[in-house]
Amino acid sequence: MKLEMKDQPGQLVAALQPISAVGGNIIAVIHQRETLAATEVLDVQIVLELPEEGSLPKLLELLREQGVSVVRIGEQRLLYECTLITIGHLMHTDLSDTVDRIDTTGSAEVTDLSLAMPAINSPSSARITIRSTTRAEMKKAVQILRNVAEQKDLLIIEPLEGI
């Protein structure tokens, strides 16, 4: 996000403090001083990661209270990736519906899908890559997949390293 603040000592700290207050993680701070000296306003760009979708409004409110104005909120990046394999009657149980249930969350999406169907009526296997904005969203997406798998009688193979 791009922030605008008064060029006074302590202002940057005032802007960064709310981020940790909502449990966010600062990835980069880009500080620009090339603005016109007369404006006495500082432009700062911050790349950050939030624990969950809901933290953003809270953060904006806290920043406003600190007298920091948010000029622009950039694109949300899908930082987290997780690859799982599923086995079962994937087509009979509507694979696109399975994918939809994750995509409709809005904060996680299936970005890659490889399907192997050996023969009609025998179980097929698919590798699914999910990306999400936060770890919490990833956990949610994987839980959705687990629930769908239980309903549709599919086997889910999760990665060894935690999600």
Binding site: I85, A116, R127
Partner: protein, 328 residues
């Protein structure tokens, strides 16, 4: 040191052969299989007993029962290596109780009694001033329990995970290597003697789950039963799934995992990077222990086999001898 051996199958005979082959200063004064037994305070002729068994006969006389050996033979340590029963642990549980009650140390490779009744047996051992050791119950030759109890004493174990079943590991290795179906790989494992006629216990993850229960209850201060383990076996895996993993430099292994803090106890097929130390080939076992002081340690070795399992039993016997047994 004098020992009595109950069970003269793969493990029991492995122990006898090691005693014969090496100068371990161990005398066997009692021996029994399902059909009979021998008691001889002067020491049983193990070579002759192995011969009788090799010719399809019983190891002793039908007049001497395993319970006679437990109750009447003169020994310092009972070596209990009869078949595992995961429902009630019998008849091994009764033999172990009786020996501890006689103030005899016990060494066992039998998962049933340890998984089902460890707290009771440990208390009984303590009350009688004797040792109860069970290194061979988990991962055969790998001295995992010794390592965690002694070598890693003082560490807090945050996570323990790995390949606890050699049969499943063999099947998955073969499915990945040569694109065999599950059924083909299982048939091959049976032919090589790596899988039982009824492979349920291995392929459904029950064997791995029992080992997790043993580690959880005896090392990690948890109170769990087999029903607490979330368990998925390998029977539904396809060669295509293994290839999809392979495409990303990964493979699939049956992983048992305990995370004490989070109460996680599960056995399930997992996607693992091929560069991970737990990715071992064939029937090997591998376990990673995550600790606070020592960091992560990975143990790799043979999880079964006559001599390999005997190695764990003998390690326990000598541990007891060095600390306790007098007058042998």
């Amino acid at each position: 040191m004098r020992i009595a051996i109950l069970g003269f199958g793969s493990v029991g005979r492995g122990i006898a052969r090691a005693i014969l082959a090496k100068n371990l200063d161990i005398t066997v004064t009692g021996l029994a299989d399902s059909k009979g037994g021998v008691i001889d305070p002067a020491g049983i002729d193990l070579a002759a007993a192995l011969d009788r068994k090799g010719n399809g006969g019983p190891c002793g006389s039908p007049d001497v029962t395993p319970s006679d050996v437990v109750a009447k033979a003169e020994y310092d340590v009972l070596v209990e290596v009869t078949p595992t029963d995961v429902d009630d642990g019998e008849p091994a549980l009764g033999y172990i109780r009786a020996a501890l009650g006689r103030s005899k140390h016990v060494v066992t490779s039998n998962k049933g009694p340890i998984a089902l009744a460890y707290p009771e047996l440990r208390d009984l051992a303590v009350a009688n001033g004797v040792f109860l050791r069970y290194e061979a119950t988990v991962c055969g030759a790998i001295p995992l329990i010794h390592a965690m109890q002694e070598g890693l004493a003082g560490n807090t174990i945050s996570r323990l995970y790995g390949v606890f079943n050699g049969t499943c590991n063999y099947i998955l290795t073969r499915m990945a290597e040569d694109s065999l179906t599950y059924e083909q790989a299982l048939a091959e494992a049976r032919e090589l003697g790596y899988a039982e006629a009824d492979p349920t216990y291995d392929v459904e993850g029950i064997d791995a789950a029992i080992k997790l229960v043993i580690l959880a209850n005896t090392i990690l201060d948890m109170r769990t039963t087999l029903d607490d383990v979330e368990r998925t076996g390998i029977t539904l895996l396809t060669p295509e799934a293994l290839r999809l993993a392979e495409d990303q430099d990964c493979t699939i292994r049956l992983i048992g995992e305990v995370v004490p803090e989070a109460g996680v106890l599960r056995v399930s097929p997992r996607i693992v990077s091929k560069a991970h130390p737990l990715v071992v080939e064939g029937t090997l076992n591998a376990v990673t222990v995550g600790t606070d002081l020592a960091g992560d340690l990975t143990f790799i070795g043979k999880g079964a086999g006559s001599t390999e399992t005997a190695s764990a039993v003998i390690g326990d016997l000598l541990y007891i001898r060095d600390r306790h047994v007098q007058g042998s």
